[in-house]
């Protein structure tokens, strides 16, 4: 009779106490579980012993705050808890955050704009939501606003104020077409970037514009003089100074007086008076008329005191050449130096009068700053700064090094 291997017989093979024993796979499962859990706890423990909390970070801090990463409580406070955010007091312990506008109806918390734990990024480059939250429907304490009241994004930003004005009241006469068109001068022959030494560019450490952000104002001495010397008369070898009318008048009188003293034979010639004093007076009147009409007058307008047509009583109409067009925003020429000047200033070579506003309109900016993912930055903070840094106050330090960089 052959072996019987039915279910009963197979079942009888089993030692029924087997459940009480621990076999290899369950045993190794327990061992490995203990090893992994203990290794994880040991890892956390090592950091805890070193009082280093960087393990728990929700993301890398910005480089300027990275040294604070070991101690969460520096910013989050020792009494942090669910729903509690970093308090403004923690930020202003190190930074003053001047108010945006005195008339603003509320002041957002620092962290609502400056979001940390996002890795390497500029904390000052805040989201547009923080701006449009108010400027989308601007309310002020006084009920009056001096800026557009419904700006949601760069696409709904109004035209630049200077462009809307359509008139540049420089008080000067200048023909761009003559210089850049007929004479083929390059823009850079007259317009060069300003640097901080000229006091035109900002030195604000929180500003993201470079020290070469603005273009310098062309000056007579630095730009015009090589071609436009202030020649007075063939009897005066030196050029007149580029100065106030009375200074120029004094220069002309002095030079002619010296000349006639050295050349008395010229008295009475060509219909001039025969006495030196009268000769000087005669020549001054003629020379100053020429200066007013042709030389100085090529660029400047004069207002003269009645009955005194010369420079002595004349006054030059005030001039104002803008170095900074945006009063509430910043623009960085250096960031745009890869473009030709005419790309943004297409009328630069055709404008004939200085009253033309050659500042590009916002439409020119929107060609690149479209706001899409493949766009040049179109955030509010690309051009605007929230805090009025002119009101910045110094901070009284509260920490010692061990507290913040242990």
């Amino acid at each position: 009779m052959a072996r019987i291997r039915n279910t009963k017989k197979l079942g009888q093979r089993v030692d029924r106490t087997y459940l009480r024993k621990l076999y290899p796979i369950p045993q190794w499962r327990r061992i490995l579980t203990a090893v992994f859990v203990l290794a994880g706890l040991a890892w956390l423990g090592m950091y805890a012993v070193a009082r280093n909390q960087t393990l728990y970070t929700a993301g890398n801090l910005t480089p300027s705050h990275a040294f604070l990463g070991k101690n969460c409580a520096v910013c989050h406070g020792a009494s942090a808890g669910i729903g509690k955010k970093v308090a403004d007091q923690k930020c202003v312990a190190c930074h003053d955050g001047p108010v945006h506008q005195a008339s603003q109806t509320f002041t957002p918390a620092c962290i609502s704009c400056h979001v940390e734990h996002q890795g390497t990024m500029r904390l000052a480059r805040v989201s547009d939501d923080g701006c449009s939250g108010c400027h989308g429907n601007l309310q002020t304490k006084s009920g009056k606003t001096s800026v557009a009241a419904n700006v949601e994004s760069f696409q709904s930003h109004p035209e630049f104020t200077a462009v809307k004005a359509r008139q540049d009241s420089t008080g000067l006469r200048f023909n761009h077409q003559k210089h850049a068109g007929e004479m083929s001068q390059k823009c850079g022959d007259c317009h060069v970037p300003a640097d901080t030494a000229q006091g035109l560019a900002t030195s604000d450490p929180h500003s993201h514009v470079s020290s070469r952000a603005l273009m310098s104002i062309p000056t007579y001495a630095g730009t015009c003089m090589p071609c436009h010397a202030l020649t007075v008369d063939d009897k005066i070898s030196d050029a007149a100074p580029h100065d106030k009318p009375e200074v120029v008048h004094k220069f002309v009188v002095e030079q002619l007086t010296k000349y006639v003293a050295a050349h008395p034979a010229d008295l009475g010639t060509e219909g001039t008076p025969r006495t030196a004093a009268a000769w000087v007076q005669f020549k001054v009147a003629a020379d100053e008329k020429k200066l007013i009409d042709e030389t100085c007058g090529r660029c400047h307008s004069f207002t003269s005191v009645a009955g005194s047509p010369g420079l002595e009583a004349a006054a030059v109409s005030p001039t104002h050449v803008a170095a900074r067009w945006f009063r509430k925003a910043s623009f960085d020429h250096a960031a745009h130096q890869g473009l030709t000047c005419a790309s943004c200033h297409p009328n630069g070579a055709t404008s004939k009068v200085s009253s033309d506003v050659l500042l590009p309109g916002i439409g020119v900016c929107r060609q690149c700053h479209t706001g899409g993912s493949a766009s040049a930055g179109a955030n509010c903070s690309s051009c605007h700064v929230y805090h009025d840094w002119s009101k910045e106050k110094s901070v009284d330090g509260k920490y010692v090094i061990d507290q913040i960089a242990r």
Partner: protein
């Protein structure tokens, strides 16, 4: 557990939860100042949901340890374990806004991915392998009992061979296998048969040199008896050398060898079915412990 029709409810519920979570994430991601993240209220909600799902999945281990608890059927727990465990991944991804920004969160994310991948591997193995195991190992036993069963088989085989040789001496074949154990006991009296001393010696030689080494190390592939085909030829050859009367005990020896081969197959498939647990269980418990610490610290700050 097979993934079949019985999972329909869990699958639909999981798909709805996932769809709601993803749809909710879109406006949250678009309009949350500073962007989405675990430290926002919606992000925290996703985290709580994800961790709860992991905890539920983990509780199945406790449920297994307490089979008498009246907390639902084990199969329902297993289905929940599978679907909630899988769903915890998208929940945690939504919680973290698809980024692991710190060392601990990176470790947690890695643990989660490995745990779930090992779980999916296990689920697939549990779906396909048991059916094949049943087909290829009809004499399957409890895995942990394989060494004991093998010892019994060795004793049974020795008993058969001893029986054969004693029968030779007394002129009758008496096969008493099992050595006293309540196993497959076969007593067979056959007509008297004359086995020559050569045949007797041959049986002992074959048993000691081929069968016994195989029974002692049945997992080794070196023995010809490790292969069903070669074993057939081997026992056919042995039968041809022996009188018909002893073919039945020889057949028993062949059956014992076949059972050993089945146990070898069972061992391999058992390892295939359970080895992934050596990754899945330790990592999932580590994940739950470290995840809990992460949650406590994150909620505190």
């Amino acid at each position: 557990m097979r993934i079949d029709e019985s999972h329909r409810g869990w699958a639909i519920a999981s798909a709805i939860i996932l769809a709601v979570a993803v749809i909710g994430f879109v406006p949250y991601a678009l309009y949350q100042p500073g962007g989405p993240g675990g430290n926002t209220w919606p992000g925290l909600l996703y985290g709580v949901l994800g961790y709860s799902m992991m905890l539920y999945a983990g509780l199945m281990g406790a449920r297994k340890k307490r089979p008498l608890w009246r907390v639902g059927r084990a199969q329902a727990w297993m289905r929940g374990h599978l679907w909630m465990g899988a769903l915890s991944v998208p929940m945690i991804l939504l919680h973290s806004a698809f980024a692991a920004r710190g060392p601990l969160t990176l470790v947690l994310m890695t643990l989660l991915v490995i745990t779930v991948l090992s779980g999916v591997t296990g689920a697939l193995l549990q779906h396909f392998v048991p059916k094949r195991l049943t087909a290829s190992v009809p004499m399957e036993t409890i895995y942990e009992q394989i060494p004991e069963v093998r010892e019994q088989l060795r004793q049974e085989a020795s008993g058969i061979v001893e029986g054969l040789c004693q029968a030779v001496a007394s002129g009758a074949v008496l096969v008493s296998a099992g050595s006293g154990a309540a196993l497959a006991t076969v007593e067979s009296e056959v007509e008297s048969v004359e086995l020559t001393e050569g045949q007797q010696s041959n049986i002992r030689l074959v048993y000691n040199n081929e069968i016994l080494p195989f029974l002692r190390d049945p997992d080794s592939r070196r023995s010809p008896l490790a292969s069903a085909e070669k074993a057939n030829s081997f026992f056919d050859a042995l039968r041809r050398q022996l009188p018909l009367a002893v073919h039945e005990p020889i057949g028993d020896l062949e059956s014992i060898c076949a059972e050993e081969r089945q146990l070898t197959i069972q061992k391999r498939k058992y390892l295939l079915l359970h080895a992934w647990l050596l990754v899945h269980v330790p990592l999932s418990i580590t994940l739950l412990v470290l995840g809990g610490i992460h949650a406590l610290v994150a909620i505190h700050y």
